[in-house]
Symmetry: C2
Subunit: 182 residues, 2 copies
Amino acid sequence: MAIKLKPPAYLMLGMLRLGASSGYAIKKAADVSTRFFWPTSLAQVYPELARLEREGLVTRRDDSHGARARSAYQVTDRGDAALLAWLRSTHEAPLQFRDEGVLRLFLADALPREDQVALVRRLRGRAHAAAVHMHNEIVPLAQALEEGGTRYPAVVARLGADTYQYAEKWLARLEAELDRSG
Amino acid sequence: MAIKLKPPAYLMLGMLRLGASSGYAIKKAADVSTRFFWPTSLAQVYPELARLEREGLVTRRDDSHGARARSAYQVTDRGDAALLAWLRSTHEAPLQFRDEGVLRLFLADALPREDQVALVRRLRGRAHAAAVHMHNEIVPLAQALEEGGTRYPAVVARLGADTYQYAEKWLARLEAELDRSG
DNA sequence: TATAGCATGTAATTAGTTACATGATTAA
DNA sequence: TTAATCATGTAACTAATTACATGCTATA
């Protein structure tokens, strides 16, 4: 029976498995990949790694370069088992997202028509920027991993890019509608 | 110059404007509308309303029914101005969402092929359930508001339903691909 | 008559961020 | 030589959730 951990712990284990060996490297990797659906910070990474070490899910060895200290972590068999158990578990974690932009849209009836249009345009612009960024910056990084046989980061990057693009088109349609009926 | 508040405060102001007059009613309304992009809880609602009252953005009057206590809140002019200023403001709040499901997918390379397929299937099922729920339960409620001239709750409900449906199709395609190449 | 829903609030806990603090190495 | 990046950690703060506590009212 594997220990139950919280998602940030699995993020650490997963990133170690993907080749990031230091806390700093985990954070860097997260910033170009999981950031979009599971952001993290160094103040989370280091204590979490310490916790995982205490529980025997990772081991830590010194990996200093000269005078610059660095630790290299490695997932243990127990850590691996815990990760796999979580990936297989069917308990449905409720999808939650928080978006100030959509909250604004929800309340947009309070605005005069032209401000409504401006708001929709801004949201569309944001979706566009996100889609472009994912497509140009994130997908290529993930594709590099894919050549090494690790395919899911690329799958997720494409899902993200495509979904933002879908939202962009949806909002463009809404904008056109507003223009017509205004 | 209007005061700067945080999103939960605007949620309260907005819900009051949409016709929910008590703290309890705000929470109920949020549970069938903003829950999907801005969830809240009673432990947030009551203190926030008290804060808004202290700052003169809402007024509170007694609205008890017999022995059952109830407060009815109303947005003041200052409150209205603050809401409008926020709705118009262009400062781009970074879209953030956190999803354990997508995190699992990101790390799915650790799983054997058949478990990967099962995971994708589960995610697709979840997207399907969300799309159906939004379409059958949330959109109709919002449409009722729409007849009264308040259109954006319905806009957002449709955006949500359509986006989940898009994700469902995307994942179905991925699943088919995995089946083929497996 | 008892259960579900209405109604309000506080306390304790959890999760997460930003700011602080320090210092080495590399590349422009 | 200086700025960016590598590297690790803690402290203070903010946001939000769950659990606790209470009691009324309508309806099945």
